[in-house]
Structures are given as C-alpha cells and as structure tokens.
C-alpha cells in the first residue's frame, strides 16, 4: 500500500505542482492517475521513487515513511517505465533489462537468463536480446522498458504515459498486454496517463486530477462513469461519452449467435456473444472495458 498524506510539491521556480494531495493506493491493484498535461501527474509518480522529494507531507510505502529510505536503494526496488522507454542506447536489449538486477548484485549469467525469460513475459522474441534499442520499433522499445521495470521483481511498478508515443494500434496491443501482465503478476501498479479511455481500460481505481493534482474524483471506472461528481469530471470523461456508449445494432443482423454493437456514430464497435438471442453476461469487466476502448478508437478513426 502506498499512502500520500497532505503532500505538496513546490518547484524552486515557484510552480506549485502538487497541492495538499492525499491518497491511498491499494496493493496489487492498478491505480491510474489521469488528468490533462501539467496537472502534476508525473510529479506525483516521481515522488514515489524519490526522483522528486515533496516540499511537505509524508509518503509511506507499507507504513514506512519513504523519506527515511535511501533514494538509490528505493529506486532499485520500484519498477519505473517511462514514455520514451529511457533505454540506454549503448547497451543491448538484454543488458538493458538486466541493468537493475546487476546493480543489485545478481550474477551476470543469472541476470541474463532472467532477462530472457522476461522478454517472453512481455511478448518479445528472444532473438531481439542482442539488438540495440535503436534497432527496435517504438512499441518493442516500450516492451523492453516494461521488462526492465519488472526485472528486479518489484512489488510496485510506476508507469508514466508508457504508451503515449506509440501509434494507436500498437498502443491497444500494449494496453491489452498490460492487463494480461497485471492478471499474471499481481503488482501494485501506478499508471499515469492523460487518456481517459486508457485510464478506464486499465484502472481498478481511477483518480481524475485537476491542476495542482487536486482530486476531482476517484473511484472505479464504473462508479465514475455512472456518477460523475462535478461538471469538470463530466466534461473530462464526457466529451466523447456518447461515442463510448454502445447499443445493439438494429440494422446489422446478428451473425449466428453474435450481436453487432455500434457506437453513437453508427460505427460497428464489435460483436458480443448472444447465444439464442440472449446477451452473455459472464465475465463483464475486462471484456466490456476493452470494447469501450475499441469504440473510441473507431470513433477517432
């Protein structure tokens, strides 16, 4: 569990990036911080691994005040994935992934074996292990970045707009992989994005932020969608909300036992199993979320 208690951050130039922020981030869940650019998301995230120290307030990990933990030590225990992958350009993929374990004293041979296994985990072919970052696509680089973040087997994984710079199709891939990873690995993930669809897709808990990292609303995606507490939230999630609402198409006739779903614009968003004309209701959460995401993609296209 990560707890922020009345945390503020004022940068030396006077910018108050975070103002009296309090939040409990539960373990083994994905918490998404979402808000427009400049609202303080990155600052919040980087305070968790002491890349930024708060001006006031306390941050605790599992009850321990992190200001008492040596930053280098803390960072080696917290996975961090950033937008530009942040890979070392002069090191091969395998060495990039093995960086943190080697810093922590794992023998090189062992670290390399583990790194190869991690490439499998993040869906990269092992043949890429000897490549340099510049020889990979943007999406592959991000996967390597995730593998590196996971290499020391941290309990906490921080992700700062990790898919912001890849094209939409690859992004959808990576988002689904992230959902799969989270199911398999059970980490405490803190994920930053400005994309509300991504937030709703990935988050167990979503925190919508205004400038100064003021919390506009927090809750599960369903709670927020069902009951936006303010005009601000409604606007933030609602600009394309109509697009996100799906309906069973009355024009497109079901193919066999499937129904076609369309969005507000009339674009086909996907199909849903409907044996004998009844909607299948099992396992609603991940599936319905990934459909809502595709809808917005279709609307954007």
């Amino acid at each position: 569990m990560i707890e922020f208690r009345s945390v503020s951050k004022q940068y030396p130039d006077g910018t108050r990036a975070v103002d009296e922020f309090s939040l409990i981030i539960p373990s083994r869940k994905t918490t998404v911080l979402v808000g427009s650019s400049g609202c303080g998301k990155t600052t919040l995230l980087r305070m968790i691994n002491r890349m930024v120290d708060p001006t006031s307030g306390v941050i605790e990990i599992d009850g321990k005040d992190i200001s008492t933990i040596e930053p280098v030590h803390l960072r080696r225990d917290v996975g961090y994935v950033m937008q530009n992958s942040g890979l070392l350009p002069h090191r091969r993929v395998i060495d990039n992934v093995a960086t943190v374990p080697i810093l922590k004293g794992v023998p090189k041979k062992q670290a390399h074996e583990d790194a190869l296994a991690l490439l499998d985990t993040v869906g990269l072919d092992r043949s890429l292990a000897d490549r340099y970052p510049a020889q990979l696509s943007g999406g592959q680089q991000q996967r390597v970045g995730v593998a590196r973040g996971l290499a020391a087997n941290p309990n906490i994984l921080l992700m700062d707009e990790p898919f912001g710079a890849v094209d939409p199709i690859v992004r959808t891939d990576l988002q689904n992989e992230t959902l799969r990873l989270q199911r398999e690995l059970d980490k405490t993930v803190v994920f930053v994005t400005h994309d509300i669809d991504e937030a709703f897709l990935l988050g167990d808990q979503v925190i919508i932020l205004e400038k100064g990292a003021h919390i506009a609303q927090q809750g599960s995606p369903e709670e927020i969608l069902a009951n936006p507490v303010s005009e601000f939230v409604a606007n933030f999630i609602g600009a394309d909300r109509g697009k996100r609402r799906l309906a069973v198409s009355s024009i497109a006739h079901p193919q066999g036992d499937d129904l076609v779903l369309v969005d507000a614009g009339g674009y086909a968003a996907g199909v849903i199993a409907a044996p004998g004309g009844q909607l299948a209701t099992a396992n609603p959460t991940p599936k319905s979320r990934s459909i809502s995401n595709k809808t917005s993609q279709a609307g954007d296209a």
């Binding site: 980087r46 691994n49 890349m51 280098v72 030590h73 803390l74 960072r75 080696r76 225990d77 961090y80 950033m82 530009n84 992958s85 942040g86 890979l87 070392l88 350009p89 002069h90 090191r91 091969r92 960086t99 943190v100 810093l103 922590k104 490549r131 340099y132 970052p133 510049a134 020889q135 590196r148």
Partner: protein, 241 residues
C-alpha cells in the same frame, strides 16, 4: 634544384640521422614532448570537464578557458622560462595551457550531449551518480572527448616547434638553426616532418573517434541513414520470396 627538392634531399641524407641532432632523435623528442603535454592536459581537463558536464555547474569555466587559447604561447613560454629556467618545464607548462581548453571542451560537450532523458532514466532505475558517470556519460561522451583530444594534439604538435627556443629540443631545432644559418632546406625538412606528424595525429584520432562510438549508437545512426535501403531490401525480398 628547387628549394622543395633540396628539403626532401636534406631529409633523406643519412648524415642527418643518429646523434643528438639526428632527425630521428628530434622526432622522438617532439613526440615525447607532445605526449607528455597531452597526458598532463588530459589529467587536468577531463575530470574538470566531466564534473561540469555532469553537474551542469561552472559552464563559464569552459567558455573562459576557450579564451585562454588566444594567449600567445611563445610569450607565455618565455615568461615561464624566465622564472623556471631553460629546459623542458617551461614549454610543457605553456603547451598544457594551450591544450587544456580543447580537451576540457570535448569532455564537457561529450557529457552535455547525452540525452537528459537517458540520464534521468538511469537515475530512476537506481544508478548512483558515480554509476551514471561511468556507465552512461563516459561511454556516450567518448567520441566528443576524442574530438577534443584530436584538436589539442594537432595544436600541440604544431606548437611544440617552439620548445627548442628555450632549449627543450624537438623538431623546432631545425627551424631555428636553419633560420640562423640561412639553411632553408634544413628548415623545410623540419617543417615537412612536423606536417607529417600532424597528419599522423589527425589520422590516429580520426580512427579512434570512430572506434569509440558505442555500437548501439552507431546502430542508431545506421537506422536513421538507411531507411531507404531497408525499404528497398524489403521490396527485393518480397519479389524473390
């Protein structure tokens, strides 16, 4: 016979080899002075340049030291010699002053050119400052450092001809002696050797500069330059496959 041919002839005259005034001896001295100067300058300039590059503090030192290059080396050398006497000391100090700015600038620029995001990422995954310097900034900064050493070496080799003015030997001997005795072929022979040494240094450092580019960085450059080539090869593969 024209003066140039006479110079060449002087250079190949076996009588001018061996002994204290032999061309070979003077080349040896010249190289020795240059290497000593570069080594001392590097020991001073590289740590300072790295420190400035890593911390981003004290950039003004790089700028000011660049201005020092404008000091007349001959005057400086004589001034020092008046204090410490004739011999190797005065020219070495004066040439170190000449060589430091280029090396300092190269060391600093090498660090400064490393993508801030790469360094930030290295820090965020838990590298200590020392590890960031040794495992990230030094390897990525080597090509620019080599560039600095290259220009320092060129300057020192050219300027080391002044050393003999205060009795420190080197190829300047042939220039000063030739000038006094109006032995122009000898002067020319000396100059030719200096030019050859300078060219050799350029070649050496040009090779080193290429060699120290990390493989991953070179791969990146290739990837940038050869988009076209790749597109073509994909096409031909599709055609044959």
């Amino acid at each position: 016979m024209n003066i140039f041919a006479e110079g060449i002839a002087w250079l190949f005259d076996p009588a001018h080899y061996g002994g204290v005034d032999g061309i070979d001896t003077r080349i040896g001295e010249h190289i020795m002075i240059s290497v000593i100067v570069l080594a001392i300058a590097a020991v001073i300039a590289i740590p300072v340049g790295y420190l400035i590059g890593h911390t981003g503090r004290g950039r003004v030192i790089v700028v000011v030291s660049g201005g020092v290059r404008a000091l007349p080396t001959l005057g400086l050398m004589i001034l020092i010699a008046l204090n410490v006497g004739v011999g190797l000391e005065a020219p070495v100090i004066a040439f170190v002053v000449l060589a430091v700015p280029s090396i300092l600038a190269g060391a600093y620029a090498g660090f400064d050119a490393v993508d801030r995001r790469t360094i930030d990422a290295a820090r965020a995954v838990g590298m200590t400052e020392w590890q960031i310097v040794t495992k990230v900034e030094i390897p990525l900064g080597l090509p620019l450092l080599m560039g600095g050493l290259r220009s320092a070496s060129l300057q020192v080799i050219a300027t080391a001809t002044l050393a003999d003015y205060v009795g420190a030997g080197g190829l300047g001997h042939f220039l000063f002696l030739g000038l006094q005795t109006r032995d122009y072929p000898q002067m020319l022979a000396g100059s030719i050797v200096v030019v050859l040494l300078a060219l050799f240094s350029e070649l050496l450092f040009a090779i080193l500069e290429r060699l120290v580019v990390p493989a991953g960085v070179r791969a990146g450059e290739r990837a940038d330059n050869q988009e076209d080539v790749r597109a073509k090869s994909v096409r031909s593969r599709t055609a044959t496959g």
